[in-house]
Symmetry: C2
Subunit: 249 residues, 2 copies
């Protein structure tokens, strides 16, 4: 039975899991759980993931959620996956786990808090909280600095000085791509001064082409939709981060 | 060269790592990094962990931080560790990873936010934020309900229906024990109605005796000290959670 991936491409961990499957030739069926239509709260989806969150997978009779647990599982369960994604070497794997664990209370928390309280909250019909958005931006900014100074501080294109990407690169870069939903002022402020981060995003994009761009398309469409709704203006469907990269590098 | 564990027993993930080492006969040296004396911010400790957080380990030349990454590493690197702590079976391991990943943005976030904004902040000379404390209690309460209904929802004494504890039980129970630092009113409100959680704490305590009680001693001393400072009263050094368990079960 084919692997089933339940998710919404608007969710950054869903994109990471789908890119991973596509890159590694894992045969899977993508089942859309439309977050804006509240499909993650349905009794049917609760049978798949009682936490009511995407992504989740079903592999035969086995159900799993939490994207990092899913990525680790897929890397180990599917023999075609190249070792660099989640190396068997105990020390390298432990350091990748360290990045993945750090992610939750830092980059992820900052991004989710900022994006939800400036853009996504409205799309879910919830009030935006500017104070929470400011707090989110602070956590996010500090997390980006940490990535530059510590995780990308070693030689090598990818995290931890590696010459090839791991599941940590994939998860963290997909998280940062969520910033495409924000106003230019945030993107400029957060990513403008951070050339190492911009180069790392570009290196990850190249290493995961063409799936990276394919999966991120939804962000530019969503941005255009959300911002058009609030301002009445028309917005393009281009990547602000990619444009910044071309101008800065 | 002996494993070095850098930590402060006042930190719940430090306690989890030390209990794990003691239980599994891992020969280690405990190096205290006194958080209240800001030793985690020293240039010397930054060489061990650039994130300036405890716990961290040094195993020969290998440095690692993030407690879940450390527990996973120790379980795999030391041959004497029983399989149930982090089973080699791909499916069981994946589900344990799922609990460990969930923990960060739920139980941990709730506990840290509540405890810091009611007790620990003052000890660090920082202002307490009642609004943040209330938000922390909300996240914590919801996380405890999730543990009861989902993770402890299957047969078996431990998480995921297991008959023996895993590193997820150890990490999550150590987190909950941090509530010993709080006023009785919080402990009663949060744990009083949750018999399954109380029984699970007791089962984990028994499965990790005598190290669990030994490591938690610091909490009762710290509570007595912090509360005595703020009220001028004398407090006992007994476990409120243990007392609750005896009266409820």
């Amino acid at each position: 039975m084919k692997l089933k991936v339940y998710g919404d491409r608007l969710s950054q961990p869903t994109r990471a899991v789908i890119i991973f499957c596509k890159l590694n030739g894992i045969d899977f069926e993508e089942i859309r759980i439309d977050l804006l239509k509240r499909q993650h709260l349905s009794p049917q989806f609760r049978e798949i993931n009682p936490m009511k969150q995407v992504p989740a997978i079903v592999d035969g009779k086995f159900k799993l959620f939490e994207s990092h647990a899913i990525l680790r599982y897929l890397a180990c369960a599917f023999p075609g996956v190249a070792d660099h994604w989640y190396p068997a070497d105990l020390f390298t794997r432990a350091r990748i786990n360290s990045v993945l664990d750090w992610h939750h209370s830092n980059l992820r928390r900052g991004t989710v808090t900022l994006v939800f309280n400036t853009v996504l909250g409205s799309a879910f019909g919830l009030p935006l909280n500017p104070q929470a958005a400011a707090e989110g931006e602070k956590i996010l900014s500090s997390s980006l600095s940490t990535i530059e100074s510590i995780w990308l501080g070693e030689n090598g294109k990818f995290l931890l000085g590696s010459s090839q990407p791991s599941i940590a690169d994939l998860s963290l870069v997909c998280e940062i791509m969520q910033l495409e939903l924000l106003d230019e002022k945030y993107i400029n402020r957060l990513l403008g001064p951070r050339k190492k981060i911009l180069q790392w995003i570009e290196d990850t994009r190249n290493a995961t082409a063409p799936h990276f761009d394919e999966l991120n398309t939804i962000l530019f469409k969503a941005k255009s939709k959300f911002r058009g709704q609030s301002s009445g203006q028309k917005y393009g469907t281009k990547s602000s981060i990619k444009a910044m990269l071309s101008s800065k590098m």
